[in-house]
Amino acid sequence: MDKALVGEMNIMDRSGHKQMKWNTDKLDEILAAKETFDTLIKEGYSAFGSKSKTEAKHSIREFDSTMEEMVIVPRTVGG
């Protein structure tokens, strides 16, 4: 039997970042994480993720619950 994974989403903000975790076995947690992801992407945030925490992150457009780690970055502005 496969062991359930815990995915985490780090959302950057002024507190450093907020963390949201989901257990790949629990549908309600996955749905809550997906909803947050979709809302942030609609607001202009960018998402980067990887299947394992040690891998380099790459840009993603869709929520993937099998990813171990995601980083959500506020939209970029020129300075």
């Binding site: 507190s15 939209r75 300075g79």
Partner: protein, 196 residues
């Protein structure tokens, strides 16, 4: 503004109690000079006491407000430090082992552009902190683009790295970035921040 309202209430109380109506003053004057003078001096002493009390009250209120604002400031600084520590831990997790070593040593790290192959040096600074490094190792120019909102400097650096190393996001990031002339090495070092 409850403090102002309270102050105004006390001022009014002091003013109206210390100035008796004109008719009362007139009667006191007629009653004879000696007793009038005594009454006046008693009233003046009472006024003085009330004013002193009022002054002490205002001073106490001001000290309390000062203490409150110092506490708020300390709490803000604590929050700020906590945010920087959290951001630093996230950034360190996202860096490769080589980038981590470089950052610990020099307070900057290099990233290779995902689509352009350009070399970027991301420094711990608040403004125009990305140096575009040429093949000769010299800085050609600097870029300024960062995540919107008030995010800690290490979150800014992590976000810049994520955008630049990804082939899909690098071109969009470069389009948004403003270009600034290169700084001399001394000025670049001076503009770095290292606060945890």
């Amino acid at each position: 503004m409850p403090i102002l309202q309270e102050t105004w209430r006390v001022v009014r109380r002091v003013l109206f109690r210390t100035n008796p109506p004109a008719s009362a003053r007139l009667q006191n004057g007629r009653a004879g000079n000696g007793s009038g003078r005594n009454n006046a001096s008693l009233a003046a002493r009472a006024d003085g006491n009330r004013l002193r009390g009022f002054y002490e009250w205002v001073k106490e209120q001001m000290l309390e407000a000062q203490r409150d604002s110092e506490l708020v400031m300390q709490e803000e600084m604590r929050k700020d430090r906590r945010a920087k520590r959290r951001a630093l831990s996230l950034m360190m997790r996202l860096l490769s082992p080589d980038q981590r070593v470089e950052f610990r040593k020099y307070r900057h790290f290099h990233v290779v552009g995902g689509s352009s192959g350009n070399r970027y040096r991301i420094r711990a600074a608040a403004f125009a902190n990305i140096d575009v490094v040429g093949s000769d190792g010299k800085v050609r120019h600097r870029l300024c683009a960062h995540p919107a909102g008030d995010v800690p400097v290490y979150d800014v650096m992590a976000a810049q790295m994520l955008h630049l190393q990804d082939p899909a996001t690098e071109p969009r990031f470069l389009q948004r970035a403003n270009i600034h002339p290169a700084l001399s090495d001394d000025r670049a070092r001076a503009s770095s921040v290292w606060i945890v």
